[in-house]
Each structure stands twice: as C-alpha cells, then as structure tokens.
Amino acid sequence: MRKFTLFFVFLLFVGMQAALAQMEVKGTVTDAKDGTPLPGVSIVVKGTLTGTVTDINGKFVLTVPAGYNELIFSFVGMLTREEKIDGRAVINITLEDDVVGLNEVVVTALGVSREKKSLGYATQEVSGSEINAVKSNNFISNLSGKVSGVQVKGTGNIGGSTNVVIRGYSSATGNNQALFIVDGVPISNDNTNNYGQINGRSGYDYGNAASDINPNDIESVNVLKGAAATALYGQRAANGVVIITTKKGVKTMAKTKSYGVAISSNVTTGFIDKSTFPIYQKNYGAGYGAFYYSETEYPGFEYLYDINGDGQTDYTVPTYEDASMGQKFDPNILVYQWDSYFPESPNYQTATPWVAAENGPEYFMENSLSLTNSVEVVGGGEATAFRLSYTNQYQEGIMPNSKLKKNSFLVNASHDIIKNLTVSASANYVNTQGTGRNSTGYSDNIMSSFRQWMETNVDYKQQQEMYDLTGRNISWNWWSPDDAKNQATPAYWDNPYFQRFENYETDQRDRLIGYAQLDWRITGFLSLMGRASIDTYNELQEERKAQTSASGEFGVNRVDCTSGYSRFQRKFTETNMDIMLKFNKSLGESFNLSALLGTNIRRDRVDQVFASTDGGLIVPDLYALSNSQNQMQAPEELLTEIGVNGVFAQVSLGFKDYLFLDGTIRRDQSSTLPKDNNVYWYPSVSASFLFSQLLDVDWLQLGKLRLGFAQVGNDAPWGSLKDTYTFNGTFTGTSMYSLPNSKANAELKPELSSSLEAGLEMKFFQSRLGFDLAFYKNNTANQIMPVSVSYATGYSSKYVNAGEIQNKGVELTLFGTPVQSGDFKWDIMLNWAKNINEVISLDSGLQNLQISGNLQGGVTINARVGEPYGTIQGSDYVYQDGKRVVKSNGYYLLSPTTDIVLGTIQPDFTAGLNNRFTYKNWALSFLIDWQKGGSIFSVDMWYGLGTGLYPETDYINDLGNPTRDPLTDDETSGGVILEGVVNTGTAEEPIWVENDFRVPGDDYRVFGWARNPNAGFVYDASYIKLREVVLTYSLPEKVMANSAIKGVSFSLVGSNLWIIMKNLPYADPEAGQSSGNVQGWQSGVMPTTRNIGLTVNLQF
C-alpha cells in the first residue's frame, strides 16, 4: 500500500507544478461535407484531461492551461483533428468523415474512454440503434450474431432467460455469465429460477435481471472479451463484460438552451414457426397399446362402465392414458369419451365417432403481440445537460393469459458547479410485471403435454368450450368416468385453459439503478472521479394452483399437492463506491503517459424468503399463506452478504501514435474467502503496435497488432467455508436437522484465470475491406467447486480448489463495402468464432463432475476431463463393427453404464452475417445467425416417440403394412425390425447377423424411452436462422423543412423469420429451460415465433 501512497504524492506534486496562467478559446465545429454544426464533438487540450464538448449549435468554449498549445477535436465517425492554438482566441474548424475509423474512441473498463487503436485487446462495439431495432423484452438477445465470440441463447419463454457466454465456459460450477455494466454501474443479471426449474422439473422462467435495461436508452454496447480488457474490474469480470453506455443530454454554449423530443412507437406480432411445433400422427388415439384394455372387439377401449345408464357396459376411452398408441381411429366406432361424462357437455352420455381431433394443440396457441412506446427529452444549457426517457412495453405471449408489462423511467443529468467540477447523476426506475408466464420443464407444463403426453383424439376447442362454460377443471385426462363425475382431480393433466386462467403466476420487480458522480479536473492533466452507485430491487413471485388441479410438485420442498399458493420474495442490493484519479500528460514529443489509480468498495446483499402452503388450500381461490391445509413447512430463508474491497492502478504509455503499452494491477480482498487467504492480486499487460503508421502504402489504412496477457482471480461462493445444518421440519414435536450435502472447506484459495491473447486488425482500400482477428487462450485453475464424492463419505460433494478448464479460440470479424456507387451502398459484416473448450483436470483422481445429475430421461450434463465442458452423458447403444447390437428379443442392447459421452453443449463455431443496403432514404439490413454443432438431448422425443404422438411412430413397414398392425407370421404383419446385428452364436464365439426379429409397433416400448438408450434422442443443435430483417425509410429532410419535426422514420422489422436449417425435429434447438450451466436438454419447450413489427420514430 505504501507504494500507492507514494505514487499519489508524486502525481499530486506534478499537478501542483502546473503554472496558473491560462487562456480561453472558443469556436464552432462544423461538418466538412455540408457545413452543418456538429454537436457533441469532444475537444481536449492535448496532453491534458482538460476538455469540453460542443453544444447543439456546434459551439464550444474552453479554458486552456498555460504551456499547452494544441487542441484535439474528436467525434464518432469523424477524423480526429489536432489544431495548434498559436494564441488565437477563436478557432473555427471543420471535421471530415472518417472512413478509416483510426480514431475510434471506445469505452473500456471502469468507463474509461480510450482510442481503440491504443488497446492491446479485443473489444467490439454495437450501436444502440442496432440493439433497439428489434423490439424485444430482453435486449441481450439482440446481441446474437452481432459480436464474435459472444454466445447468446434465449429460451423461448415469455420474458425468459438469456444465456450469455463470452469466449466459452470457464468455471466448472460457478457463474459463466457475462457481467453487465451500465454507465459504470454493475447491473445484477441474476437469475432467480430455482433448482427445480433449472433442472427441468417444473416451474416458471422468470428471466435474467439485466433485461430490465431499456434498449431505447442505449447509446452503444461495447463488449470486452478477454481478461486483459476486464482485469481492472477484478474478479467479477472473469467471464467478459458487456459495457452499456446510455444516451445523454448535450450542453450548450453561452446562455442559450436547447432541447429535443423523440417519440417512438412499435407494434409487433408473432406467429408460431411451424417447424418448431409438433406434427402429430392422425391414425391412432388414446392408449399405450391397442391390446390390453379389454378382451373385446376393441381391445384399445375399456369395457367396465355403464355411461348412458342403460344397464349395459359401454366402450370407454382409457382417458387416463396420456399417450396415443391406442385404438386405431375409425369413424364407424362410437365410443364414450371424456366429454360424455359431464352434464354440461353437448355430448353428455353420448358416444361419439372415434376420430382424430379436429382442433389439436395448435388451436391452443395464440399469436403474440407487443406494443412499445417511448418518449424522450434531451436538453441542455450552458452548465447543464439532461435526458429523460420513458418507455412502456406491453406484451402478450403465445399462451392464453400470458402478459408482460414494463415501465422504465430514466433521468440523467450533469451540471458544472464550477468550471472544473461537474456533478452528474442518473436514476433509472424499472417496474416489470408478469402474469401467466408459461410453465417450463417436464411436469405441469402444457407444452410437455403437447410434445410428450397427449391423446390425439382430444379436441382443444372442446376443452376451451367446457372451461368457458363451467369455469371448472374439465380435463380430458381422468382416471375413470367415476372420478370425472365426482369432480375428483384429473390424472396428470388439467384442462389447459383451466391451467392458464386459474393456475397462473404473477411476478413483479421494482428496481432502481442509479449513481451520483463527481468529476473534478484538478489541473490540466489530473482529474478525480468519485462515484457512488446502487442497483437495488424487490422481487415478488407468486404461484398459484387452484383447487381440483391435477397433483404436482409445488412450493417449498416441492411436495405433490392439488392446490396451493407460494410466494418468493427477494431483495437485492449492490452498492459500489469508486474513486479514481486520472492522469494524462505528454512527455516530450514522442511519449504520452496516462495513468489511473482507484479504489472500489462493493457490497452485495441478497435477502430472500420462499414460503408456501402445504397440503393444499382450505378455501378455494383464496391465495394466502394462512389458507394452508397443513401447518406450513418452514419457509426457506436466505441472507447472503458479500464484500469486496479493491484497489487498482493502470499505466498506459504511448509512443508516437503507433506503439502503446498498457499495464494494470488490481488487489481484491473478498469476504467469501478464509480470513488469512482473502487477498489476491492480479496483473495484466497489453501492447498495441500500429505498423500501418510506419508503412506508407495506399491500400492499407490500418494495420494493428496487439498482444495481451492477464490474470484474474475469483473468490468463493458465499458461505462455502463452514458447514451449517439444514432444518428438515419437525416430527411429532422434535426438530430435525441434517448435515449439508456439500462439505464446506475452510481452506479455500481464490480461483485464478490466466489469459493470453493476440490480435490483428487491418483495413484496406479506403476501408472498403477490413478484418479483426483474435486468438486467445484462457485457463482457469484452482476452481472452487463442490466436486461429487462417493456418497459413502457421508456427503454428496465437497468444496475443493482444484481443476482447470481451458478455452482457446479464434474470433474473426470481417467487414467491407462491396458496392458503393452514388446513393447506393452495400455493407457487409461477418462475425465468426470458434472456441475450443477442454476440461484439463478436476480434483485429483476425479475424471468427471456432474453439473446436473437430476434431469428427466436420466442424462447428465458434465465436466469431464479431456472433453469440452458440458458433455451430455447417458446410456448408449452397444456397437459391433459400427452396427447397433440387437438382443434376441428384437430390442436394442443398452450399454451397461450411463456415463457414455453422447454429445456436448459446445458448438463447433458460431457466426453472424449482417448485410446492410442503403439507397437514398431507404435502408435494408438482414442478419443471418449460424451455429454449427453442439448437441441437445430431447426429452420431448424421448417420451413423445414412446407415446406415439409423432408420424415417426406410424408408417408403412418393410412389408408394406402399417407398423402398428398386429404381428403375424406372414406378409400381413405389422411391427418393426430394428436395424442392427444380433449374435446368433455364443458369447465366446459370436456370429453376427443382421437382425430380422420383428417387434410390435403398437407398443410404447419400441420407439421411445423404455427400450432405447439416451443416445437415440441426442440431436445436433446446429441451426442457421434469418434472425433479423429491418427495412427503414426516413422522410427526406426537405419535406419537414418548415415544420417542428426534425426527423421521421418508419421501420418494418422482422425477427426469427426463418429457420433456414436445423436438425432437431419439431423444436428450436436454441429453446431451453433457463440461463446457467445446465444446457443441452429440452423438455416441453415453447415453439419459436416469427415476429413482424412496425416502428415509427419521430424527432422534434
């Protein structure tokens, strides 16, 4: 620490030496092209931090410290100019368009603006307008395909999660999500989905908290990918940082004031992409086989009940079977179905023809609708600038009764108290309200019924009519006609309309993000920034299950019940105190030194309670904890607090505008680590060499080589040092406590990531062509993780510091302008990234670590030594010379173990191709998003093929007969011969021949889970999508010349319009449960919607 103090003294000493004589310079900056004034141009006294920006009329006034004689004028998209003052009091200057982009300024770690050329690491910027073109409730998903090396994956759920991983998964069990920073304030991107939801049992996807950021407020997004870029942020930035800069007001010169108003309105509607929805076979109805429900002419029907009261037994549908492997449809057969059990039904006590439903599940799905309206006011005076914005978003999902509302207010302002002292503050209030989010996962999920467990004879329009008529849970799925009559609960599935309108969740989040900041330009080359920031929100999630619902897991401890109410309340607060001293000075002619010294004090606090009724509700429709049938289970409470204190420094040295060297160091002290071991340091160095500055060739505008190395530490998860007991309720008056599953470890050390990166940026032919190529290698060692241990130890896992994961990869951004003639321009940009992930080691002797071991279907997601992170493991076929081995009973032989690697969640590469055409006032752009490789295990197919929903289970067999026809020993036989070889010899002397044993095709075991390994249901997750198409027309300025309106534009926006290629049947390979490390597993996922919207922007 003493060294720092000394450094400070040095800086201050240098500062005080600055002489006091100074002069004032003023002037106007205009566009060289058309002479219009340029507002917002940044003017800095060269070699100092003293500067200002031009006002709305392009005017500026600046006090120049004595001893300095040069001003730097810079503006995004314009060539930077350096201008000698030479005693002039008025300097009027013009700026030219920068086709080369050599002086591009980007926001780097801790909000420091830097010239991109000086950076020794990769960053990639996306403008706010690109992010905001497609109106979505989560701007993060709009990053997909726009930044190389950033993997963005949405779930498809309304208001659902988005998984954002930069340069691969690096932590075995920890957080791998990127850090989001808005105007220097770290934003919580927490996902509060519970363990059961993430692991696909049941539950709602409440999304990630960063989706609260209003895309309309975003000026630009800059992605810092590697550790060298993020090292200053410390431990939290190990996964890369997404830096968001919001739009701001602009100050004016003299005593004038200015303001502008912008209004934007969008309406978007979405239609289901049919390629992501099931197609059903239409020949067979309810049942698991057509042979055993009764010994009658129609063995697929039960023959036990008298429905019409005539004293005779009637044929009834086995309504309790949520499968479609049953009796063959035949309109001449009349049978009593679910609708014959209810007096309200038009078919009460009436047998109806046995046919496929006229209105299948597609009837149930609706078109989505979203309305987004924004208004913003920007303004400023001589010493003040402000921006105010309000956005209202209303969205209806594709499931009945699903809504999402969002209101966002943002105000930011800055004011010069005195010349060198600026205060600025920002407050963003966001209120998000969800109603009826779609359920997810395996059980209680209408989509998992549609994809896995359904009767093709059920007409959903009839289901709707019965619910509308009675308001009761008149399901299609009853154990028996008696149960139906007695208004018992359905077997497995509710009437889906009842479920949507009675068992809906509601949620609400009130959030405040804000900061207060003080900037003091102490002297010409020294400035001080102090900032206090806060991100805090209250979240309430209420879940309901109305009486008479089918039994299912619910509430605390996920106990089965037929009704209930739960509430989850969470209060999150993060505060940061930052102080930064910045120094910038030219040293002689050739050198420029800038330095930074700062401290960051962070405090996180999460306080949450989850409580639920137990055993059902007493009074119907009263959703209160007090309305609990049994005494409530003890609520789950969690209170976590984390403190991190950091000190950091950065020194940047520039030599003659072509060589730049950067060094940073940070020291963190974290409360989650053992007291004696809670301090850790990490350094970074990077260099940038602009060799094009030394070459004087026409065709090369930019040539830059960069190199960086960094280390980043990471602390332990909260509370992993000391064992605590779990309360398991009371039993006849005695409290029960149990040791935890995971053994704590008081000896934990910080994790350490080391990363190395190199890059080459080049621009040719007046920037008509360019590329940015990056190579990186990132190793995260000393991983803090709960490793699974033999249960015989008395624990299921143990916290250790062990293991190493490596990510290495290549990123390429290729951009160019193939055509530019007259008013027509065609820009193209390709982002391509390949990340090779490998789990180098785990704890000594440990070869495999389960990331999720509790997924339906029995597959696991793992970190396995020598494999990429996220292997999908399960049972496989047994192979003989590459052919599947069939047992003598005609079914496949399954591997004896279930830890066989079947695939990985890691794609081979990801790419995005963006084309943009502009012609006069028209602009058309489209984005193609491509993921190659990666795998997904489909629970939907695992069960859906077993229950006979899909056409793959009903086809004409090798003999020309329907597969579901009965087995016979002649050419009339139905059934299936599974492809493979069978051993007709002995175990010792096998004789392998092609299987010719026919197994029944009218039995649920042949195609689905029961006789097949997991391997048969692992699909390639590749896709190519037409992600975005945006057509914009801006009204020519002359049309509005004499009105108050300054600009009008119309955009026609399409998103997810076309999945050009995919290999996963009936679903979108991107769809999933939640963000986080459990990926590569699908159950009951939502179909994807094709969205088309119209946006009108007005500027005054």
Partner: protein, 479 residues
C-alpha cells in the same frame, strides 16, 4: 490540494481496512452451526423410516422386487431396469448421507456434551448405544442390497475413495457391535426421550431391538457360519421382542406423512397394483389378511396384476386404503419377523425355546393381529390344511418362507431376503427382465456413480463378490 490528498488516503485506507466485519458477511445467519444430537438422531430415524416405506421408483423398488406389487403402465422397474433411474445411487445417498452421517454427527455432538453425575453419564451412554443400534440396522440393509460395501473407511470426508469391506466380515462386526450395545444399555435410565421417533427413549425396548436385530442378522449367516448363527441366536432370542412388540415409525400426518400416502394419494398417481404373485397365493389360502392388504377389483374378487406386465389400474385390486393413509406407520422391526426367524432356527436345530411349528403359528398369529384380524381369523387360518404346519405342502423352507413372505407384506427387504435365503415362495418372471441372467435379481448393482467417483475400489469390490451383476448371489445366499 492537501485536502484531496487526505481524502484519498482515507478512502484508499478504508478499502483496505474496512474488512473487520468480513467474517460476519460470510456467516450464515439463517442456519445453525451446532445442533443437539437428538435432533440429528430424529432426522436419521425419519429418513430411515421414509426410505423403508416409500414406493417411489427413484428411491426404493423393493415392494416390486419382492413381488408384493407391480407397476401399471411404466413397468421398467418391475422388469429390473435399475439403470433408467438413479435408484442405487439414491440408496447410497440416503443411507450414508441422510442416515449414517447424521447418526455419526449425533454421536460427536452427544459425546461432546459435558455429562455430570451418574444419571447424565448413563443417559449419555444410552444415547450413543442406541445410535449404534440404528447404524447396525442400516449397515445390514446396505450389505443385503449389495454385498461388500464401504464400511471401515466410510463416512470420512477426508478419504473420498473409501474402500469396500468384505460383507461377511462386516456382518460379524455388526454382531459384535450389537453385543456391546446391548450389554452397555442401562434401562434404569432414559435416553432420547421424545426425540426418539421409534421408542420415545424407552431403553428397555431398544435392548430388545438389539437382541432381535442379532437374530435377524444371525439367521442370514445360518448357511455360512452355522456355529456363529446358532450361538448368537440362542443367546439373543430370550431378550428379544415379545409378541406384540414392534419398532415402527408412526407418522403424525400433515407435512410429515407416510410416504406411501405421498406417492400414491397426494401425487394423484396410479402407478402400482398388488402383484398376482401374492394375490394368487392368498386367494388359494383364503387368507384373512387380504381385506387388509388389498381392495377388491370391481367389488367381486381380489385380482393381482400379472407381475411386470401392463396392468390397467382400473382392472385390478388396489393397495388397501389404510396402507395409503396419511398417518399409517411403517414397521422397522417386529415380533412377527422374529417369530419366523425363530421357527427357522428351530428347524436348524437351534435351541430357541420352542418348536418350528410353535413359532410359525406365532408368526402367523402375530401378523394377522397386527394387520387387524381377529383370533377367530387366526384359528380358522391355521386350521387350513394348506397353512397348518403339519399338513402344509413342501419343505420347512417352503412353509416358513411362504408364510413369512406373506406376513412381511409391503416390507420389501424382509420379503426379498426371505426369498433369497429360503427360495420360497416361487416368484413370477416379468416379461422382459433386464437382469443379466433374465432371472429375479439376487442383489442390486452398485451405484453407477461409484464407477466414476470411486473406481478402483468399485472394481475391486465387483471382483471380490464375483461380478457387479444382479445374478451374483450374496455371500449368505447359498441356495
């Protein structure tokens, strides 16, 4: 300028020094770091009871394996598919983690209490001996599932690769532990009081429990080490349970309900029906317990589902309503069981104070009474020539095996053990047995995750027992 300098120094100093409450930050304020041993003991007892009772196919499928029940639609487990779900891993998890580890921790906690005075010391000792009795019970069950298991090296988190011990050696050690526990228990003093969910702290009953458990373990050794079995049983039987005495967990209902209620009523699912294996035998014998075991199908007859086949729920008898009751107790160990072991011991010429027939009749009678039958039922049943010990068909193994198995209804392990030791009654074969030899499993496979987490020891154990297969017989299963 000096002011700034000062401010900076203070702030930077602050970031370094304001860490004195760091430890407080990382302390869990909602969970205790210490709890009384009795609470841990109660937790282990309930975990053991729940696991014994539950028919959840992810946790305990022994009611199927013992062919008391079969599955309706999803018949995988009844067809011995142990791999589709993590059944064996859950077995290890619950027994080692939820039961044994908490018991061991309870011993630590109790031993650490400063007991002053004779009574306090006696109570402290009693509690530790009682915990040991439960541990022995759990280890026997583990051995009976798998064969060799981690024992001497188990429950040590510092050794994450625990070795497996020889099953016979474990059995002998369990008997030795029981000896010490029973000898050490002082029934002049109390123990856990109401924290004890089995006997409410009644030390005399725990003593009997210990002796009964001795008989239960020793009877399995009869074909392996007859001398040890004989001496153990002869020495223990007199101090074991008397008729009507029982160790069971009584569910209070509500949040703590019988797991069969949770899985079959609360879940709203209809996954199980009684198997034809038991229903057919009981129909033949006109067993008076049928009304307590099953409902009638269509109010006319008791019909069991063909074991392992598709069985539409509506067409067969169901498990009796009482058994699926919220508060229905689960038996851990009882006199009925003891009586049948003693009948067997008598047939093996051990001196147990009664003949095989005597204990056979007591076993049947005790069971009928336990299930709700009357004395008249017992008399009528025993007079059935097919039941009567003198006239019933078959060897003593068949007679005792069949009746013991009938009496052990819903107690999967006891039923399956009887079949494995005495080879009676005859079990049905499901249509698609997933066992390696296509027969009824003789043991469970080791948890699949032992192959990855504890590989060397796993393979050594698999070798030692003759292969990690369902067809490998346990060391005591000689016939």
């Amino acid at each position: 300028m000096k002011k700034i300098y000062l401010i900076l120094l203070v702030l930077i100093g602050m970031s370094i020094s304001c860490t004195k409450n760091f430890e407080d930050f990382n302390t869990d304020k909602k969970r205790p770091v210490e709890v009384p041993g009795g609470y841990l003991f109660a937790n282990a007892q309930v975990a053991l009871g729940n696991h014994t009772a539950t028919p959840n196919v992810n946790l305990n499928i022994l009611k199927l394996i013992a062919q008391y029940w079969t599955e309706t639609t999803y018949t995988d487990e009844a067809n011995y598919d142990l791999a589709n779900r993590a059944i064996m891993a859950n077995q290890f998890l619950i027994y080692y983690r939820n039961v044994l580890n908490d018991l061991e921790d309870a011993i630590q906690s109790i031993a650490a209490e400063a007991a002053v005075g004779d009574e306090a010391i006696a109570v402290q000792n009693n509690r530790i001996y009682i915990i040991d009795l439960v541990e022995v019970y759990v280890y026997q069950t583990l051995v009976d599932y798998f064969g060799n298991i981690p024992y001497t090296q188990a429950l040590d988190i510092n050794n994450i690769n625990p070795g497996y011990d020889d099953a016979l050696t474990i059995y002998k050690d369990l008997l030795a532990r029981l000896g010490a526990d029973v000898a050490g228990l002082n029934d002049g003093y109390g123990s856990f009081g109401t924290n004890d969910q089995y006997f409410q702290g009644d030390v005399a009953m725990w003593k009997k429990f210990g002796n009964t458990l001795k008989v239960r373990i020793a009877i399995n050794l009869a074909d392996v080490d007859n001398t040890l079995a004989k001496t153990t049983i002869e020495e223990a039987y007199a101090g074991a349970f008397a008729p009507g005495e029982i160790c069971q967990i009584v569910y209070p209902g509500g949040t703590q309900s019988n797991p069969m209620f949770q899985e079959m009523i609360q879940s709203g699912r209809h996954d199980f029906v009684p198997a034809n294996t038991i229903v057919d035998i009981m129909n033949t014998l006109e067993d008076p317990r049928r009304a307590f075991y099953f409902t009638m199908a269509g109010d006319t007859a008791y019909i069991g589902g063909p074991y392992g086949e598709d069985c539409p729920f509506s067409q067969f008898s169901h498990v009796a309503d009482a058994i699926q009751g919220e508060k229905y107790p689960m038996v851990i160990l009882d006199y009925t069981e003891l009586a049948f072991y003693l009948a067997e011991a008598a047939e093996r010429n051990y001196s147990v104070g009664g003949t095989a027939e005597f204990y056979y009749n007591y076993g049947i009678g005790s069971s009928i009474v336990h299930w709700g039958g009357t004395e008249a039922d017992i008399i009528a049943y025993l007079s059935n020539p097919a039941v009567n010990y003198a006239s019933a068909a078959g060897t003593w193994q068949q007679k005792i095996g069949t009746q013991a198995w009938l009496a052990f209804y819903i107690r999967g392990m006891e039923g399956w053990n009887t079949w494995r030791r005495l080879d009676f009654p005859a079990f049905n074969l499901p249509p698609a047995p997933n066992s390696d030899d296509g027969q009824v499993p003789k043991r469970f496979l080791y948890p699949i995750n032992e192959q990855t987490l504890n590989a060397a020891n796993y393979y050594e154990a698999a070798d030692a027992i003759g292969g990690d297969l369902m067809s490998t017989k346990l060391f005591w299963d000689k016939h």
